[in-house]
Amino acid sequence: MTDTLPMSAITVNDLTVAYKDQPVLWDVDLDIPAGTLVAIVGPNGAGKTTLLKSFLGLVRPAAGQVLIFNKPFSQQRRMLGYVPQRGSVDWDFPTSVADVVMMGRYGTLGWVRRPGSADRLKALKALEQVGMLEFAERQISQLSGGQQQRVFLARALVQEAQIYLMDEPFQGVDAVTERAIVEILRNLREGGKTVVVVHHDLQTIAEYFDWVALLNVRKIAAGPVAEVFTEEHLRRTYGGRLALFSDGKLNGSVLPEQLIELPEAIH
């Protein structure tokens, strides 16, 4: 699948990021193909959020580079839409839902210019896409977790980007919202967009995503889910923690026979 596409959406070479002498990402190479739904998976502290932030230039790498469509990210900001973790923001901030979504237009507006009616229209359309149109004038403090996530998503959609980067978008979100968001992501992919998601729930990887990158400071493996999402790779990614996740509940590309063997093989 990957070799038929002209170029990778995101190319990562030898990326190393350290935080006070502790490596967070070490010598990571990735070639994320365009037009796919990609999951970044790994245990806590594995550097997943950091990887996302390095695509945006929010962290300075100790070594290596990141290219967006073969150009450095600083020139490609228009291409990237970002959906950060919900907890990164104070939801008591005095602003409405529509206002937050319009912030996604700020990048295009540049300095000083205020959003106009055209931008507002785009914001409302994005809200409609995520099913939040009726909440447009609501205070963001009055939203539930799932609703907050959808607002963030709408904000990224309004950027009209080519690549969407999402950090744990399904964290603490109800089932209905999760379904809705997956629908939107699939629509994006149909439209040729690339969606990179930091995802924590191993059970849904095979169902939602085409491509997966397994990360634990180093890249353990990356590629189409069917090839890469194996027990062997998972064990290497999660180390001893894999026992907690199993109980034969691993889905997707893990072979059915192995599900039975699992309880004995792990201790």
């Binding site: 929010l58 970002y82 990164s88 901030f93 005095p94 602003t95 700020y106 000083v112 205070q139």
Partner: protein, 377 residues
């Protein structure tokens, strides 16, 4: 209090007019920038910066041998700025958290400032600079030149806030996202904080080092209580600040012996306190009442649902039951009587006989609606 004279003085008396104008401008500027400080959780920064400015004033006098107000203000700004930079450096590079770092910078700089003050008080001519007046301010001796300085610096600050409104907004709300969009958040951060430092420094003359932080916190905190829209909050905050400034000057001007700076701060704090208590939606009084009301409603609904369940067992939704039975089913037995009274006043239950209660027809409808809405617990 002779109001006619007070109002007349405000416009026609040079002294009152000058001091009031200066204090009003100060109130506006610190009100506006205080909102952003509050939203960025930097309110206490005002306290830190104003205390940190003290050694700057003393050093400016010592090194440049001048007591010109502008020189001293520049000294205050430099020291305040350095204090801020030191603060950010500590937070970024050590394990010390923001609040501890603030306390550290505040006390170290302020202490150093006091040491310098006591050193300078020994020097001939030193008291000429009126350095220790910076502690509590000396609003009443503001000259036109001071007001012009405040006006210019404050005006620039306000202009920048208006022009860079959306930049400051997104910076305060979601810094990372703003950085992702390509905004130079580091620069914007420093710019906004510099504006805050400016506001504080120009206020030092009127209100003094020790009380200045109140002018950055109080109007903003008060304004937040009244609205959920950013621009309204900013305007309100400016208004509260201005009002505090003017009324502080006017009230302290009615008699000798009332210090102007502290009066301004007392008024601003009172406005904040009243807002915290009485604002609709967010005020403490309001939320307390609302909470009580909710509790009462919930308790009543539990009781009426228990009554319904009991009645259903007899096949007749209006079958009466004794209050004692209801009490055994309730988590708050003592509140059952009150709930029944409340339900009765709403026409949902009726006191059939002694202490036996039954649902009315209206009550039955009410419960069935609850069931339909699936709020039946």
């Amino acid at each position: 209090m002779d109001w006619a004279k007070i109002i007349h003085d405000l416009f026609f008396d040079y002294t009152v007019r000058t001091v009031a104008t200066g204090s009003t401008l100060l109130g506006i500027v610190s009100g506006v920038l205080g909102v952003f400080a509050m939203l960025r959780r930097q309110s206490l920064l005002g306290d830190t910066v104003s205390h940190a400015a003290l050694p700057g004033v003393a050093l400016a006098f010592l090194l440049l041998n001048s007591k010109a107000p502008l020189v001293l203000l520049l000294g205050a700004m430099t020291a305040g700025w350095l204090g801020m930079l030191a603060l950010m450096a500590i937070v970024r590079n050590t394990r010390i958290k923001l609040d501890s770092a603030m306390a550290l910078i505040l006390s170290v700089f302020f202490g150093f400032g006091i040491v310098l003050l006591s050193y300078t008080q020994r020097l001939p001519d030193a008291s000429q600079a009126g350095l220790n007046k910076f502690l509590f301010g000396q609003a009443a001796t503001m000259l036109e030149a001071d007001v012009i300085t405040i006006g210019i610096l404050g005006g620039i600050a306000l202009l920048l806030v208006i022009v860079l409104w959306k930049e400051f907004k997104i910076l305060s709300f979601d810094r990372d996202y703003a950085a992702g969009l390509g905004f130079p958040v580091g620069v914007l951060d420093i710019l906004l904080t510099t504006l805050l430092v400016t506001a504080i420094v120009i206020g030092l003359q009127a209100v003094g080092v020790i009380l200045m932080s109140a002018m950055v916190v109080a109007p903003a905190a008060a304004a937040r209580q009244w609205s959920d829209r950013l621009w309204v909050i900013v305007v309100l905050s400016a208004g509260f600040g201005a009002f505090s400034g003017v009324s502080g000057v006017l009230i302290s001007g009615t008699r000798t012996g009332l210090a102007t700076g502290p009066t301004i701060v007392v008024i601003a704090s009172t406005i904040a306190l009243l807002s915290l208590l009485f604002a609709p939606n967010r005020g403490v009084i309001f939320t307390s009442f609302r909470d009580l009301k909710n509790k009462r409603t919930m308790r009543a609904e539990t009781v009426i649902q228990s009554l319904y369940l009991l009645a259903k067992q007899h096949g007749d939704p209006q079958y009466p039951h004794a209050e004692a039975v209801l009490r055994t089913m309730s988590a708050n037995p003592l509140s059952v009587k009150r709930s029944l009274k409340h339900l009765e006043s709403n026409g949902l239950v009726a006191n059939v006989h002694e202490s036996r209660w039954a649902l009315t027809a209206q009550g039955v409808l009410h419960v069935e609606k609850l069931v339909a809405r699936r709020r039946f617990l």
